[in-house]
């Protein structure tokens, strides 16, 4: 898949890489089980620090989108369907908007339960 990062952007490089992977899954460019480029390779290709790529991969793992193993690299989780990834994006947007309004976590959860 195509990765592109804007070095002059206000959005962190790690966030940009993570977003690209999410978009890749939503667009079916990346399919469940597909391997992501090794962090070292992607870092060299994009001219960024390897820890930046690892930070992006870690964020994706925390979201349940990819899996990572020492020495085996990273790959898209079998259950990371485009709809699931889209849902995590929407959840992130919801949390961001709720924070802006000053809502607490229990209040956001209460909001979801009510709908």
């Amino acid at each position: 898949m195509l990765f592109r990062v804007e070095h002059a952007s206000a959005i962190s490089l790690a966030e940009q890489i993570a977003v690209q992977v999410r978009i890749g899954i939503v667009n079916c460019e990346l399919v469940p089980g597909e391997r992501l480029p090794p962090a070292r390779d992607l870092a060299a290709a994009l001219g960024v620090n390897m820890h930046t790529v690892l930070r992006a991969y870690s964020a994706l793992r925390e979201d349940g989108i990819i899996e990572m193993r020492q020495g085996r690299g990273a790959w898209v989780r079998p259950n990371a369907q485009p709809a699931f990834v889209r849902l995590t994006e929407l959840a992130e947007q919801l949390v961001t908007e709720a924070r802006k309004l000053g809502l607490s976590r229990p209040e956001v959860l209460q909001l979801i339960e009510r709908t």
Partner: protein
């Protein structure tokens, strides 16, 4: 950019058509041989007690020859480029009709002739052949090449990178040929070595066996390849050993384009090395072709080669 007419029938399609004319020819030829020996009535159906119904021989001949003729004709019409997407299915269906019709004639006619021209012969197990012949369409189906979309450039891809933006493309591909040859070869080498050691063979033969085992095992390391395009150019690296199989720097690339890669044109499947050309061919289908400044060419099969091609063009232009 691609073949002038990808739907155009190729020699394998013509071969498939030829197999579909065989049933009709067989009916006509056998009739010419048997016509004096055949009675006016031929068996049409059998039950447990023998022949249960008959039909005039000319009707039997007419129906079976007409069915196999029409089937062959329909299959021949499928050579038109517009029929290319459904050509294989047509071959399967017409093969079913031609196989069933001709075998009905051949079985009924042959048992009648063998029984001495009686209209009530005992068929034995031969009708089973007619059932088997209904799968005749599998032969032209397998002979005919699989339909591939007519152009690898499905959607025009545009990649414009801002001055402070960096683009990189990567894809992991699997070479099934290496996997099969490697696995079967390693298993065969191990069995051979064990047999030789048990038989007390020593010296150079054993060494040769281990060398073969090592070479085939090494091939397994190239089953999964990582293809990447970035500011360094194009690189194909073994995902397992991290050994580069091919790399071309941006400055060494003269031009790049997508094409339908045909194993026939590139010397087969797998990693191909020919004078002035090398390629990684997985199947007949889309791929990326590099023309290098030293006059050499490199190609690699990719499902969607448009993005890496356009990215390479863009990176090459900005590197100059």
């Amino acid at each position: 950019m691609t073949e002038p007419n990808p739907g155009k029938a190729r020699y394998r399609d013509v071969l498939a058509i030829a197999t579909l004319w065989i049933p009709f020819i067989a009916v006509v030829v056998t009739w010419l041989f048997w016509r004096d020996a055949l009675p006016d009535e031929m068996p049409k159906q059998w039950d447990a007690d023998g022949v249960s119904s008959t039909a005039p021989t000319w009707i039997m001949l007419g129906v079976t020859s007409l069915a196999s003729f029409v089937a062959a004709l329909v299959a021949t019409l499928a050579l038109y480029a517009s029929a290319a997407p459904s050509r294989r299915s047509i071959f399967l269906g017409t093969g079913f009709v031609a196989g069933l019709a001709s075998s009905a004639w051949l079985v009924t006619g042959s048992v009648t002739v063998v029984a001495g021209g009686t209209s009530e012969p005992n068929p034995g197990g031969w009708p089973l052949l007619a059932i088997l012949a209904s799968g005749y369409g599998a032969i032209p189906y397998l002979l005919s090449p699989k339909w591939i979309e007519d152009s690898p450039l499905r959607e025009p891809v545009e990649i414009e990178l801002a001055p402070s933006e960096v683009g990189a493309w990567s894809k992991t591909i699997t070479v099934p040929l290496f996997a099969w040859v490697g696995l079967i070869g390693v298993a065969g080498s191990v069995v051979l070595l064990i047999t030789m050691i048990q038989a007390g063979v020593t010296g150079g033969t054993i060494v040769a066996g281990f060398v073969m085992l090592f070479v085939l095992g090494f091939m397994l390391a190239f089953v999964r390849l990582h293809v990447s395009v970035d500011w360094r150019g194009l690189r194909v690296v073994s995902s397992i050993l991290r050994v580069p199989l091919k790399s071309a720097q941006l400055v060494d690339i003269e031009s790049v384009h997508t094409d339908i890669l045909d194993p026939v044109q590139w010397g087969g499947w797998g990693y191909r090395i020919m004078p002035g050309r090398s390629a990684i061919i997985l199947r007949r289908g889309p791929g990326l072709v590099l023309n290098l400044t030293n006059g050499k060419q490199f190609a690699v099969s990719l499902d969607e080669p448009e993005t890496p091609t356009v990215l390479l063009m863009s990176l090459r232009a900005s590197a100059k």
